[in-house]
């Protein structure tokens, strides 16, 4: 080979278009010719630098570029909020990791870096729709027309429609986060997305913690949720899914076609499980805002009530949504004036030797519209509006309860010991989520235990629940009776017990799909306001059993 041929062949090898014969010929030259080796290394270095460093350099002004290496030193990175994938990598327990990722959009990234982080100089798309789309901690919500750059996008509330330059349209539903690498590739770490891929962009790739999805001309939806679980559902056309088998080379690619849905999770070792196709499960088109489309500045209230008195029922409770047999004892009321108008919750609790009773009257301009299907998304039951109560059922845990989720430590860069995490897994810390699934009319209950949310179960046998819509259509009443056995209490509380409890009331948009805000009450006033109640049990207020 002459010098010109060597140069051309090096270029062709770098670009991946050389034939096996050209690779062989170049290899011979490289073995024998020092000048060829030098040229190859210089050109390959240039290509590699452009491919790996150009995006970082592009945002740097010239004087900065010249002053220092363009990557962050490790000590700088330690002070920088980590992206969710990094945080996830830090969790030792996989289940906790999954929970962490499921909540990461609310708890960490949204707090620190709610906006897409600019990594490249060019826009790769634009926000073409926003419904109640808001990251907490930011002054403004997403707005239509806002450019999209490569990098992270996180949402605490609502949904966004992102249209990429190649026509790919993603309807991304929070809470969650998605990283957009290019118009042909994205990775969703938490949340739900519907992707519509035009013919020209066939081959678009979506990655989640448990599966890679490659479009072959279609509209498909995917979730990334607790347990590193991913559900993929195809509305039109087909996709090829490849399950990730953790620690090995991955699963065998499978074709999933229109009208079908499949579930992937690490426990399945690369095997997919067919699940029912549920056409209304995802937001395919953003709803038109009936409430003016405004975004509530505060995703939650300032808690004013720090304890609740729980008494025996004065009359036998009939779970029918009519609270006329409930006395006003222990009633609390919390109000919020949002873009939807006045929202409120009035809550009461009762107990006897067999059951815990919960009653609430909730002012909600879009009552009982939740589209959260308990058979698929029980752990997200709050997302479409409803009530969550967290409580302890063991007086030995005392008050305040000293238990934090692993996410609490990691998001604050606190050192955590295995003992601390072990103490937080008590089955006597119970998370109850209650909502009305509009499509089937089910009055649902989801239970999870410990600050690691283990053993989640939806609609377990033994509980009773009722919802009743207000006559003016501006609110609803809910009433539940839950056996202590389901709450893993070894015995019912006794009069004089001071345990822990907290209420989170959730409101969704008018579609019953997109979460808008919550009220937190029965919050420990000695704790810093604004700590997520799922992260730290010490913020739970006092439940006075009398």
């Amino acid at each position: 080979m002459n010098w010109a041929e060597i140069g051309t062949t090096i270029d062709r090898c770098i670009d991946g278009v050389a034939s096996p014969e050209e690779f062989a010929a170049l290899s011979c030259e490289l073995e024998a010719n020092a000048d060829a080796r030098s040229l190859h290394l210089r050109l390959a270095w240039l290509n590699a630098t452009l491919a790996t460093r150009m995006e970082y350099a592009a945002d740097q002004p010239n004087d900065v570029r010249g002053a220092a290496p363009l990557y962050l030193a490790p000590e700088q990175l330690v002070k920088t909020p980590l992206p969710a994938r990094a945080v996830m990598l830090l969790f030792r327990n996989r289940r906790l990791a999954a929970v962490g990722v499921g909540m990461i959009g609310i708890a960490l990234l949204v707090r620190h870096a709610p906006w897409i982080i600019r990594r490249g100089p060019s826009e790769i798309g634009v926000v073409t729709g926003a419904a109640s789309a808001h990251p907490s901690g930011a002054k403004k919500g997403w707005r239509v027309g806002q450019p999209i750059h490569r990098g992270w996008c996180s949402l605490e509330t609502g949904a966004l429609e992102l249209t990429l330059n190649n026509g790919v349209r993603m309807t991304f539903e929070g809470p969650g986060e998605i990283e957009i690498f290019s118009p042909m590739r994205a990775s969703m770490h938490a949340g739900r997305v519907v992707v519509r891929v035009p013919h020209e962009a066939t081959g678009f790739q979506l990655e989640t913690p448990s599966v890679n999805v490659v479009d072959v001309g279609t509209e498909f939806a995917a979730t990334a949720s607790q347990g590193m679980r991913t559900d993929v559902q195809v509305y039109e056309g087909a996709v090829v899914t490849t399950a990730k088998s953790f620690g090995s080379s991955g699963g065998f690619p499978q074709r999933l076609t229109e009208g079908h849905a499949t579930r992937f999770s690490p426990e399945m070792s690369g095997q997919a499980q067919s699940i029912p196709f549920s056409p209304d499960r995802f937001v395919r088109r953003l709803p038109k805002p009936a409430f003016g489309g405004g975004v509530d500045k505060n995703a939650w209230n300032k808690a004013r009530i720090h304890e609740i008195t729980i008494t025996h029922p004065a009359r036998q409770i009939v779970v029918d949504g009519d609270l006329s047999e409930w006395s006003p004892d222990g009633l609390f009321r919390s109000e919020h004036e949002g873009t939807q108008g006045k929202c409120f919750v009035e809550g009461r609790m009762r107990y006897d030797s067999t059951h815990l009773y919960i009653a609430a009257h909730i002012g909600d301009p879009a009552p009982m519209r939740s589209t959260i299907d308990p058979s698929n998304d029980g752990e997200l039951g709050w997302n479409g509006g409803g009530l969550q109560v967290r409580l302890s059922t063991n007086r030995a845990l005392g008050w305040p309860v000293n238990a934090n989720s692993e996410l609490y430590y990691n998001s604050r860069h606190l050192t955590v010991t295995p003992e601390q995490l072990g103490e937080a897994t008590s089955e006597h810390l119970v998370h109850l989520t209650m909502w009305h699934y509009a499509q089937s009319g089910q009055n649902c209950l989801h239970l999870a235990y410990g600050m690691d949310f283990h053993d989640g179960i939806v609609n377990p046998a033994g509980y009773e629940g009722a919802f009743r819509k207000d006559s003016d259509g501006r609110g609803y009443t809910l009433e539940y009776a839950i056996p202590w056995t389901l709450l893993h209490a070894s015995e019912a509380p006794k009069a004089g017990d001071n345990l822990a409890a907290v209420w989170n009331t959730h409101w969704s948009d008018e579609t019953g799909r997109l979460w808008r805000f919550q009220h937190v009450e029965i919050y420990n006033g000695a704790e810093t306001p604004g700590i997520h109640t799922y992260e730290r049990a010490a913020v739970w207020g006092r439940a006075l059993y009398r």
């Binding site: 270029d11 090898c13 490289l30 290509n47 010239n62 060019s122």
Partner: protein, 192 residues
């Protein structure tokens, strides 16, 4: 064929299933890995230029790094330590790729033998490269953006620009050669 998407979550699964390390060790490891991911990828791409292949190699390298992290002396630069493991994975890749589109093992060894470079010099060269990029005509810069940042295929760029695929390859090669000339001219001027 292995997936070529970024496989950090496979690594994640691996780490999460490894019981012997404590959280702070994992945190330290991930900080280092994430901080130097791009630099490691560049190192690998010098020998295996195709991005998808290089990402697979990085995945394997990351697993090896994690397995051996207890032996890492934090007084030493992480990249240098990590590149040692990356070299092993590059060799393994080239061995597996024989009779396909890859250099021979002997050619690879010849390149590895001369590829040691002072990191300071490398950073300086990179700085010169950004200077040269800043002087580049907008049209050429746009082509580089499309190819390297947006990872558009040459075929897609050709379609967009109504040019042939071969013409786009040629244009990329000319731009790279011009950039290399520019960098080396500036290096000579600066006496590096």
């Amino acid at each position: 064929m292995r997936e070529t998407l970024s496989n950090f979550f496979n690594l994640c699964g691996y780490i999460l299933q490894t019981p012997m390390q404590n959280t702070s060790t994992q945190e330290c490891f991930m900080h280092l890995l994430l901080a130097h991911e791009a630099e490691l990828l560049r190192y690998v791409m010098v020998f295996v230029p195709q991005r998808a292949d290089a990402r697979d190699i990085i995945q394997e390298t990351a697993v090896a790094l994690w397995k051996n992290f207890e032996g890492y002396d934090q007084a030493r630069p992480f990249v240098g330590w990590a590149c040692g493991f990356a070299r092993v994975e590059v060799r393994r890749f080239v061995r597996r790729a024989q009779r396909q589109r890859a250099l021979t093992e002997r050619a690879l060894e010849a390149l590895l033998g001369v590829a040691e470079e002072d990191m300071e010099v490398e950073h300086e060269r990179e700085r010169l490269l950004w200077d040269c990029l800043g002087q580049m005509p907008v049209v050429q810069r746009q082509l580089l953006d499309d190819y390297y940042i947006h990872e558009q295929s040459v075929e897609a760029i050709a379609r967009e620009q109504s040019r042939t695929v071969e013409a786009i390859y040629k244009a990329l090669q000319r731009i790279r050669r011009a950039l290399l000339d520019c960098v080396e001219r500036k290096q000579a001027e600066a006496g590096i």
